[in-house]
Amino acid sequence: QDTYRMRIQAAVPSGAMSFEMLERFGERLEIMSNGEFDVRVLPGGAIVPSNQILDSVSDGVLEAGFAWPQFWSGKHPATALFSNTPVWAMAGLDSLTHLSWMYEGGGIDLYHELLQDEIGVNVVSFFVTPSGWQPLGWFNKPIESMADMDGLRYRTPPGLVGEIFDEAGVSTVFIGPQELVPAAERGVVDAAGWINPVEDYPLGFHDIFSHYYLASVHQWTDTGEIVINRDFWDGLPDTHKEMVRTAAMATILETYTKDISRNADMIRRFEEEFGIEVHPTPADINSQLVQAGERVINRHAADSAIYKNIVDSQIEFARKVKPSWGEVLRAYDSLAEDALID
């Protein structure tokens, strides 16, 4: 009887929620295959640094890896469009329609074309963790508009998100994850964006800052993927390939359900247990980020044919679904106003 050992190195620490999702993914494979899959999930940095996961899986150092497509944006900027795409003015995909575009609008095929032909890595990819919205982040004083961001040293993630904040005129500071906590504690930065409530908690930002601003359009979705070495994948029997596909689909759903519930719990904890003031991100900031996002995306699209193809595909898909799905969202939003809970 063949066994298939699969080492998956994640780009996250072992306490992260997406790590738990990966372990569940591994358990599913082991149970479905009656133990023929032997899956070991390794935390970020265990074997290779996060930004090297794609290369290491392609080379076969690891059978599989978990990260977000924007981690490969140094190899091609278009990878970010498959994960942490901003809501830019023309298309307006939310996290669910973005996922729908990937499965129904040809997104996954475009992604494989990008990985295998354009970047030239020997992998196949499965989307697994569509963690939804991302907060603007942690502040020491309330902000009401983009003008209040003036003169604040704000830590952003690099890549597309950093470009958008930069374009919007925010004084961005980039400090790597290892120096961020002491830097924030000692006031080297005045404000910081990290991931989301559940993942921000272990770093302890709530012990440093007093205000937390929620969903911001700089990044409306963040879909993690499992990349699998293609030779390893080709060596799997059809039954086992189907198990991987099935486990991935199950992980998507589980991430969605846990994400909504746990972030809500954590926001309540921030408020009630730690006295954090939680606010929505001011509309002015969101609208300026939308415009900045559009300018950045168009700039990239003008530089690269495949980037433009992907953007066009997203716009076309958004045009198709927006009338009906947008109507659902609007209807739901107005219902929520009169809902029984407060």
Binding site: R7, P13, S14, G15, A16, R40, L42, P43, G44, G45, A46, I47, V48, P49, Q52, D55, S56, D59, G60, V61, I175, G176, P177, Q178, E179, V181, P182, A183, E185, R186, G187, V188, Y201, P202, L203, G204, H206, D207, I208, E273
Partner: protein, 440 residues
Amino acid sequence: MSEEMLGLALLAGLFVLIIVGFPIAFTLLFVAVIAGYSGIGMRAFNLMITQVERTMEMTTLAAIPLFIFMGLILERAGLMERLFHAFQLLFARVRGSLYLAVLSTSTLFAMATGIVGASVTVIGLMAGRMMEKSGYDVRLSAGAIAAGGTLGILIPPSIMLIVLGPIIGVPVLRLFAAVIFPGLLLAGLFIAYCMIRSFLNPSLGPPLPPEKRAPNVMFIAKEFALGVVPLFVVIAATLGSILAGLATPTEASGMGALGALLLTIAYRKFSFRNFSDSLAQTLKISSMVLFLIAAANYFGAIFSILGTPYLITDWLLDLGLSPMALLIVILCFIFVLGWSLDWAPIVLILVPVVFPVIQELGINPVWFGTLVAVCLQTAWLTPPVALSAYFLKGVMPHWQLKDIYIGMLHFLGLQILGLSLVVIFPQIALWLPSVLFGGR
């Protein structure tokens, strides 16, 4: 041989080759290549490039060459010697006063930076020769510098704790708060040990002979005003800018290097010759330190990919021990692994595997994290991969490694004493976080 057993063979081979006297960085690379090739084939070479690249991109380590340069430029200008000499004048009658100076400086360094390499090399450069000249015992001096330097990875800020926090689900700042007292306790133990031993046996740290002492208080005051205060301002500004939140440690190291350069110009001690010699010496020392770190990273990655830690951990967890016994066995195991590995593979691979069991047994995660951190600090002091000793050897080449090892052994004992105290009195770790952040 199974891959996991290959990992054990890797450790054994390493011991032998390093003791024979092969250059350590190349031995680490070679042993990792052999074990890696036997385990995962040619992909071991891909992993080698990945790990070297990773070390090259660790911006926090850029502080190492800059701090070394700062130390060298001050040392060449004779300013460092003046500082420690003034300190000695002040404490002329006190036996072992330089131990006090070295260990206090190490503690201050530890509160400002999160890396070990900078502190050991800079303090080695600054104080090593002065201690030698004053007739201090080489072993105890080497031990104090090497062990004092490792406080940097424990006392916050510490990269190790930032990595550990999310793994055990404890907010990093609480972990920072928890290790402050254990860290200061260790610093205190180190200082007390050196001072008591020098008091009992003055040949370990002789007081300044009467003819070299200052004739009067005015002399000391003048020496302080002219020779010490400006230099002290530069060092205080460097470390202070970190503590005050003006700069990250990496940034402060650059400011310190520039400040030192300006100071030598102000003292008219600047010459191009000294400047370029300091640069060449900086290159040599930092290249040794960082190449060694890159090699240790690769070694750790091979060990991790072979899965050896899982084999041993599974075996440990199957023993069915009581919570306290298991905790102690785990700490012993971390200690032993720390002989050959640095903290990263242990924190990343071992801790996640044992942590669910720790949680199930109801052991406080903050306390557990503190114990792991104190235990891992010893990894820098234990051969064959005793990086702290090697860093010191790099700046004091004529000190025998044997003497450095023996000196460190004393401090290893103190470390184990400190660790035992935190095991017996968990409040040493738990009190401060509970005061700062409430009961949870």
